[in-house]
């Protein structure tokens, strides 16, 4: 791990030395407020407006939390989109509108996510298959199985379950609270537990971690399970919010690539070992405020795509450009 220590610019302080998440959050807030003021929609800065903004972060935020773990250990998970669809469809199929089935359905989905996570982790950590290929493949398999079985798997979630997605105690939507709680849990795990410290160790230097006595494979596996669980919760949330799942909600939401993008925008290194959930939240907030601002400005759908592409690149470039080494 030879690290270039020759940089003499360490004393120079600029905005680039600020933590990435803070800068991204500030940028998101700036974009949102500017858009609201510029289009004369100051009421979007009210509590309801903001809770609407936060609501937009939930699905992607939940996936992003899980994806953060996968990327932190130096892996990546492209199967999340397919898993989201599968979970959403499975949940609505199992519930069939029956409140009594809420808990069994949730449990079944969690078990499914566990299995997918273990398979992903196993392929990556134990078999040594490149994570992009491994998770792309499991995603394809899931998506195929889902599309094949979907018409057989019709159904809808229980109304009580659906209500969860629409409740807003104290004006804060319940799903936003859920995201907040899970984010705190994730932060806690990463920052305060041995398990979290070991994840960083495995991602930062797998050989070193192994020599330090860590069972690297287990941590990669665990990270993949967490990534799958994140997708699972996102799928359940979407099922609740949308009443029933379709085999395309994951793919149409582009949750695979977007979750990777927000994690990286939040300052987590694709090579692993650096970053955290705060950055991911900042990233998803940036995406949500962009969405909301595009709406306020009435940006054309295709132009939106162009801008989003440019912003993804710019947001990462701002921090990446000072890297000394080569990046591929």
């Amino acid at each position: 791990m030879s690290v270039d220590t020759l940089s003499s610019g360490r004393t120079r302080r600029g905005f680039r030395d600020l933590p990435v998440p803070l800068v991204v959050i500030a940028l998101a807030a700036f974009i949102y407020v500017t858009a609201a003021l510029a289009t004369g929609q100051a009421n979007q800065i009210s509590l309801t407006g903001l809770s609407g903004l936060l609501q937009r972060t939930v699905a992607l935020g939940l996936v992003g939390l899980g994806q953060t773990f996968a990327i932190l250990v130096g892996s990546i998970d492209l199967s999340v989109a397919a898993l989201i669809s599968t979970v959403a469809v499975l949940a609505s199929y199992l519930m069939q509108g029956d409140a009594g089935m809420i808990v069994p359905a949730i449990l079944a989905c969690l078990v499914l996510a566990l299995v997918v996570g273990v398979i992903n982790g196993g392929l990556v950590a134990c078999w040594g298959i490149n994570p992009l290929i491994a998770t792309l493949s499991t995603g394809l398999i899931l998506q195929g199985a889902l599309a094949a079985g979907f018409t057989y798997l019709g159904g809808r979630v229980a109304p009580e379950f659906q209500a969860l997605a629409y409740q807003a105690p104290f004006g804060v939507p319940l799903p936003v609270l859920l995201l907040a709680v899970l984010a705190i849990v994730a932060w806690f795990v990463l920052a305060k537990t041995r398990f979290g410290a070991h994840l960083y160790a495995v991602g930062g230097n797998p050989d070193g971690a192994k020599l330090a006595g860590l069972r690297v494979e287990r941590f990669v596996l665990a990270a993949h399970v967490i990534a799958s669980l994140g997708a699972c919760v996102a799928g359940l949330y979407l099922a609740a919010r949308l009443q029933s799942g379709t085999p395309w909600i994951g793919r149409d939401g582009v949750y695979d690539l977007e979750s990777i993008a927000i994690v990286v925008i939040g300052g987590t290194a694709l090579s692993g070992g650096k970053g955290g959930v705060l950055g991911t939240l900042a990233g998803v907030l940036l995406f949500a405020s962009l969405d909301a601002s595009f709406n306020m400005f009435g940006v054309d759908a295709f132009l939106k795509q162009v801008l989003r592409g440019a912003i993804v690149i710019a947001a990462v470039a701002v921090y990446a450009v000072r890297n000394k080494g080569h990046v591929a």
């Binding site: 030879s2 003499s8 041995r194 971690a209 330090a212 006595g213």
Partner: protein
């Protein structure tokens, strides 16, 4: 004194090639047992067996007389075997304390006990005589400091057996000395220490016993009193090694080939020196002297932003390695694996890489070398030993990789050769061969700049010695200068005095 550790008849093969063959080895509490051997002799493999990274095919390991079988490094660690690895295994973006405790974090109610980590890390580092802050990021430390963190990591557990695999390879003389002091203190505390090194003075200074491995077999194990450097070297290479350092050229150096006037950049100041045809200019200095930055500046990797460089009297612009290569500078990087080889390419392509880099893009992959036999001839001239030059270079030993990289530059026929730590991690026999090559290059009318942390090498090989201190050239010494003189300059204590001596 009984052996804490005993390894009996250890055998290990890769693809039916024996890496270890019935090796016996033991180590007692409170002794330093040095293992010597050429690269590929099986030292690291033996330690990986001990550390639980490899499972032996044959033989057994006894710890305190009981047979143990490690399936994972964690089991070896738990059994009291600590290893300071040759490769740094640190996490750059985590703090020193987090790194030291990797895998052994203390907890309180199931949570990380950070205050305790900080305190124990500080205590450990103090014991090592270091003032590194436990909450500093590893990325902000120097290589030497990182090495100390690595040692602190190994010392975290109360080790019965401490293995140090070339711990001084990345250190300069001063840091190396304090490390050796530490080893002696640990020994006094009753730890069984296994020490692997290529540096003979070091070996002679701290060893209680010495074991020599060759081709996966043990040659002998002897007490310190019964060994000489010559005996070790002979056992390692299997023949007498007469003169380690090649004879200096009898003729006086020729005209200046490389001239630097007032060179400087963010880290270097007032660099003035000349390297003449036929001479080897050694550049010495401590780890923080930025001597390697000077090498990078000469090769355009950390370009000079001030001053002037002339090659054969012609002003040269060195803003990138490519430009440097184009004006006739060759460069042998210090970190072979990270900066030298393209591991998955063939030996031949690695040797051809600079020719390929400088040739027109769409020219043949021979890169201007007239034929494949010619390339192979250059490799054979350098005595690169490979079954087939079409095989991936990663499969070769370090010495052979180094020689292939020298061959790469030889085909480019540079005027100036910059060698950075040319023999780091290379065994004795290969070292001698590389010194011979350097001398031969100089004798063919080239100027050689050799940057090295290995003081005996600097003194033994250089025709002149530049000593750097804090980004400046603190002074110049003639061939065969005293170690003490070099160290004084390097420490910056006697710069004025020495300069005065030089003037008179």
């Amino acid at each position: 004194m009984t052996a804490v550790l005993e390894m009996r008849g250890i055998g290990k093969a890769f693809n039916a090639v024996a890496a270890l063959d019935a090796v016996d080895f033991d180590c007692r509490a409170g002794e330093v047992h040095v293992i010597c051997g050429e690269n590929g002799a099986g030292k690291s493999t033996l330690m990986k067996v001990l550390g639980g990274s490899y499972r032996p095919d044959a033989g057994e390991v006894l710890l305190d007389g009981k047979s143990v079988r490690f399936l994972h490094p964690r089991e070896a660690r738990a059994a009291g075997i600590s290893i300071v690895h040759q490769e740094l295994s640190l996490l750059p973006f985590r703090t020193v304390a987090e790194n030291i405790f990797t895998g052994m974090e203390p907890t309180r109610w199931g949570l990380l006990d950070r205050p305790r980590m900080q305190d124990r890390a500080r205590a450990l580092l103090q014991r090592l005589g270091s003032a590194i802050r436990p909450d500093a990021l590893v990325a902000d430390l120097s290589i030497a400091e990182q090495q100390l963190v690595e040692i602190a990591k190994a010392m975290l557990v109360d080790a019965k057996v401490l293995v140090m695999d070339e711990p001084t390879a990345a250190l300069d003389d001063r840091d190396a000395r304090s490390l050796l002091d530490l080893v002696l203190r640990m020994k006094a505390e009753g730890v069984a220490i296994i020490y692997i090194s290529h540096r003979m003075p070091e070996v002679m200074a701290i060893a209680d016993r010495v074991t020599v491995l060759k081709d996966g077999r043990r040659v002998w194990t002897r007490d310190r009193a019964d060994v000489t450097v010559n005996a070790i070297v002979t056992a390692m290479v299997g023949r007498e090694l007469q003169d380690f350092y090649p004879a200096r050229s009898p003729t006086a150096p020729g005209s200046p080939v490389l001239e630097v006037r007032g060179g400087g950049n963010a880290q270097l100041r007032d660099i003035d020196f000349v390297a003449r045809a036929g001479e080897i200019v050694g550049v010495a200095g401590l780890e923080d002297s930025r001597k390697s930055v000077l090498a990078q500046a000469l090769f355009g990797d950390a370009p000079f932003t001030a001053g002037q460089v002339r090659i054969d009297g012609q002003p040269a612009r060195l803003r990138s390695p490519r430009e440097a290569a184009a004006v006739g500078i060759g460069y042998l990087p210090g970190d072979r694996k990270r900066e030298g080889i393209a591991p998955r390419q063939s030996v031949r392509d690695n040797a051809l890489l600079t020719l390929q880099a400088m040739a027109p893009v769409l020219s043949s992959p021979q890169g201007g070398a007239r034929s494949r036999p010619e390339v192979d001839q250059s490799l054979n001239d350098m005595d690169v030993r490979a079954g087939d030059f079409g095989q991936e270079i990663a499969t070769l030993s370090g010495g052979n990789q180094q020689k292939a990289i020298i061959a790469r530059w030889l085909m480019q026929e540079p005027r100036v050769f910059v060698f950075v730590e040319p023999t780091r991690g290379i065994d004795v026999a290969a070292k001698a061969a590389i010194y011979e090559t350097m001398r031969a290059l100089a004798n063919s009318g080239r100027a050689i700049v050799m940057v090295s942390s290995d003081l005996p090498e600097i003194i033994g090989v250089s025709d002149r010695i530049l000593v750097m201190h804090q980004g400046r050239i603190a002074g110049e010494l003639p061939a065969g200068a005293e170690e003490g003189a070099v160290m004084r300059l390097a420490l910056g204590v006697a710069a004025a005095t020495v300069a005065g001596e030089m003037a008179s």
